[in-house]
Symmetry: C2
């Protein structure tokens, strides 16, 4: 019998409010990270400066294991990050490494808004959403093979099967100019809200007000539009794997959205 792996619940990651919305299983959290186009990556200001503010950078990230590339999303994985690694971020990572630390402490988060919940009271308005948060230690990937591994899974995250359909193999210059961070995950959590609108008892009993205030739900979806060729493209038609990726992503998004609409329509 298989066991569902979960991130350990600690004071750090336990979803205190509305605890039933908290998700800790690796597959749910890793899937949210992998299907979000952008991750928000936060690091604290350097303790040896007088800077006040943490920083958030948008980056592309995907879960993977260089040691065990066939590992499933329900298994322990690292997060590979790509994007502009600023001098400051680079220096902080190096400094953490040189100080013998396990890496630079990062928080990674991904959030999808699935719909707007319009209650009778403005104070009960809310969103349906799916969010995931991971805490881990970042290091710069230096092994050329691991850089290529990271770029492969990041590229295939953007469009499934894209890597094998790009110009290959990578050159030494490609690899030398590419910054990839590997984040060793320490813990994480997810939170999913997938509810109909709801109101307080007093508002539900206010029949007169309810005749004039509309209560309902507006679905929100992210859609991939029709692919267009670059002016320098020489390939006649949009390749099948690109069209397939687009329709798969849009179908998944539409299906989840329709499930939520059914929940709203069928709530008692």
């Amino acid at each position: 019998m298989s066991r569902t792996l979960e991130y350990p619940k600690t004071a750090r990651n336990t979803v205190v409010r509305r605890g039933h919305r908290g998700k800790y299983d690796l597959e749910t959290i890793h899937t949210l990270i992998n299907t979000s186009l952008v991750l928000n990556v936060s690091f604290a200001p350097s303790p040896d400066t007088d800077e006040d503010f943490p920083v958030i950078l948008p980056m592309i990230g995907v879960m993977g294991s260089f040691e065990n590339p066939s590992a499933g999303l329900d298994e322990p994985l690292d997060c590979y990050l790509h994007g502009y690694v600023s001098n400051r971020l680079n220096n902080l990572v190096r400094k953490a490494h040189d100080a013998g630390k396990p890496g630079l402490p990062l928080c990674l988060s991904a959030t999808k808004v699935d719909g707007l919940l319009l209650a009778l009271s403005g104070f009960n308005h809310s969103y349906n959403y799916r969010s995931a948060c991971l805490f881990g230690y970042a290091n710069i990937v230096t092994d050329p093979e691991e850089i290529v591994y990271g770029m492969r899974i990041i590229t295939d995250k953007v469009v499934r099967n894209r890597w094998d359909n790009t110009r290959l193999p990578p050159t030494k210059a490609d690899i030398a100019s590419t910054g990839v961070l590997r984040v060793t995950i320490k813990t994480g959590s997810g939170k999913i809200k997938a509810d109909p609108p709801s109101d307080d008892k007093a508002d539900m009993e206010n029949e007169e007000m309810r005749q004039s205030v509309w209560a309902g739900y507006i679905p929100v979806t992210e859609n991939l539009g029709e692919p267009v060729p670059a002016v320098y493209n020489r390939v006649d038609a949009v390749p099948e794997y690109v069209a397939q990726h687009r329709s798969d992503v849009n179908d998944e998004s539409k299906q989840y959205s329709e499930e939520l609409v059914q929940k709203v329509l069928q709530a008692q």
Copy 2:
């Protein structure tokens, strides 16, 4: 003659790489914050604990001025945040306040992905995007009138003109149970990429490879779906302001997306 207000450029917020993409004018940045359904709010771990990791919370936020409610988006504004204010966040804000600090240092960020740039080389893949980042000091709003002001502009951010069409006036219980943070902005920056795909010279000259690798662009849009009534809704039709908000948001999104597609198709 009017002057365009900009956030001051400091080491903290200056966009070093691809500096031409950096945006500092208040209107651009405030518009990005206001039109993003969700903000990522980051705070550093408390310095008096041995915690390593910063935290990112998704929250709803909007720019406004309680003192000068008619101020435009091109004027200095505060950011009002709503969402679950965790005990930890609450305690950190109070602690900062009690220590005589101007508030808890936060980073707020908003990112929209506008399209996927598929270059010939996997290493030149990229996104078109719009992102904004604000740095400021958060305090808990305690004045009941300012709480109501914050909730009004947050609700109207979710759906334009919604507040006046909800159950009003707010009750004492509504106000007492609602956490609103006001963030006094110190500085900020934005970054916009709106480019066609591009590749290195060596790849552009590789005619054989170019016969087989598709290069192009996939637009990404966020769409509001058809509104559905809550089961307890008593109002016959979807109100005009809801339908109007939906079509305005979708039209703006479609128009910007089409501009980018034209840029891709017309690049030389």
